[in-house]
């Protein structure tokens, strides 16, 4: 009984934190808050976490060996992808409520940042799999789910490319963005849990890192890395959407 209450409380808190992060991310992308300070913080966090990730002492495990350091790169990339895709979906919802060219650009650029981070996550994961599992790609539920996510966002780009009228493109792609996110992304988290037999760390009896991280040193590097990569995703989106705004302004002239 006590355990369920705790579980519900943790879910509610993480939901609130996620929503706050989405709202904060939008404020950063639209340059409403932050100024230059958060970009300095991003650089410090990313450089610091990467350097520490390579240098600190990690638990010695058979097979995994030094490749456990991928935790500081691979996992934060997926976290950042999910965050920036959530931001993209939120912009799509805002667009449907109140259409404007700006919201369409923001949602499109956020989705593109998500795709870049997803591809980086696939690449780092594949590299890790080659040295620990012996193959670049295995038919693991987690890996299949990640591939499906990339296919969905590839389809989103194809859809945008095949619509000519700008307003129609903005509206239809916003609809597909929301529909795809609602239909497929939650399942990407559920599917690996119920299909069993996954080799991926943290799945079906394969311990995640928290089991080996007895003195919490890995955590001290992991969490800053997550925050750094998420901020980096927002930064990337901000720069690319500013470029798109300038192009929009040029086209209007």
């Amino acid at each position: 009984m006590n355990k369920t209450v705790l579980g519900i409380a943790i879910s509610i808190i993480s939901l609130l934190v996620t929503l706050a992060a989405v709202a904060g991310g939008q404020a950063l992308i639209e340059q409403r808050i932050g100024g230059r300070g958060w970009k300095v913080l991003t650089v410090v966090l990313l450089l610091g976490a990467s350097a520490a990730g390579i240098l600190i002492d990690v638990p010695r495990l058979p097979i995994v060996n030094e490749s456990i350091r991928n935790l500081f790169f691979h996992v934060p990339m997926w976290f950042a992808m999910i965050m920036v895709l959530l931001v993209s979906v939120w912009y799509s919802i805002l667009y449907l409520r109140n259409p404007s060219a700006q919201l369409d650009i923001l949602s499109h650029e956020a989705a593109k940042s998500g795709i870049v981070l997803g591809l980086l996550g696939l690449a780092t994961g594949s590299l890790w799999a080659k040295y620990t599992w012996g193959a670049w790609w295995t038919p693991d539920p987690r890996l299949n789910a990640a591939a499906v996510a990339m296919l969905i966002y590839g389809a989103y780009l194809v859809l945008r490319g095949s619509l000519r009228d700008e307003q129609q493109r903005a509206r239809v792609s916003a609809i597909y963005n929301i529909f795809a996110f609602a239909a497929a992304i939650p399942l990407l988290f559920i599917l690996p849990r119920i299909s069993g037999n996954s080799l991926h760390p943290g799945q079906t009896g394969n311990p995640g890192f928290n089991k080996y991280d007895l003195d919490s040193t890995m955590r001290m590097v992991f969490y800053p890395a997550v925050i750094g990569w998420i901020l980096f995703a927002f930064w990337m989106t901000q720069v690319s959407s500013r470029l798109a705004f300038l192009q929009l302004k040029l086209d209007e002239k």
Partner: protein, 224 residues
């Protein structure tokens, strides 16, 4: 309740249109029949029926492509003028619900017929038939709910609608297909039903989620 009346009128209209243009329906049935027959011919080269995993995979491939073909023409065969006419008469929610219901009924019929032909030609290795058929029905309804909104989106692009529909629809259907194939494998092997319970519940929840999201989003698509 007016919404229900609008839905039933639209549903009757869809059925009447389908019946008047029997070519499309006949084409669909012929498509299922000929793919099953091609499978039969190729497996008969090596002594009759395929092994159960191949049997399962082929059945779902046939059903998936039949579903894409069946649903694709739903919104695309209507002209912009026709759409405007409906827009003035009924609310968009009625249109999407009627279309989903119609596609679900069509795909259930195609699925059952496909399964019948398939078992006639390629043998019947199913050990738990009620579970298999129930899973097939759930799958047909799931295909219909997912593909209806996708076909509406693809119809907006004009021209290469059918290709676009496959591109947009396949990745969305992969998670659903993985669950369906898993449950139908369990039914083929006659495993205990408790093994499939969680997947079935997830499928049901997924169907309801997709239906609800389509219901919410379609009015925005329709407005254009």
């Amino acid at each position: 309740m007016p919404l229900l009346r609008e839905i039933s009128t639209l549903l009757a209209k869809d059925f009447r249109l389908e019946w008047r243009q029997r070519a499309a329906l006949g084409g669909l049935l012929l498509y299922v029949g000929s793919t099953v027959f091609v499978c039969f011919l190729s497996f008969s080269l090596r002594g009759g029926t395929p092994p159960p995993p191949a049997w399962n995979a082929l059945l779902w491939v046939i059903l998936l492509f039949a579903a894409i073909n069946a649903v694709a023409k739903g919104f695309m065969q209507e002209s912009p003028g026709q759409r405007l006419y409906y827009y003035t008469l009924v609310r968009p929610q009625a249109i999407i619900l009627a279309k989903m219901l119609y596609n679900a009924l069509l795909l259930v019929a195609v699925g059952l017929l496909g399964l019948f032909l398939y078992t006639v030609f390629l043998g019947n290795p199913i050990q738990d038939a009620p579970l298999f058929v129930g899973n097939l029905l759930l799958g047909s309804v799931g295909f219909a709910t997912t593909l209806t909104l996708v076909s509406g989106i693809a119809a907006k692009a004009g021209g290469n609608g059918a290709t676009l529909m496959a591109v947009l629809g396949f990745p969305l259907m992969v998670p659903m297909l993985l669950l369906l194939i898993k449950v139908s494998k369990n039914a083929l092997d006659g495993l205990d039903r408790s093994v499939s319970q969680q997947s079935l519940l997830t499928l049901l929840a997924l169907n309801m989620l997709v239906g609800a999201v389509s219901y919410l989003l379609f009015p925005f698509l329709w407005r254009g």
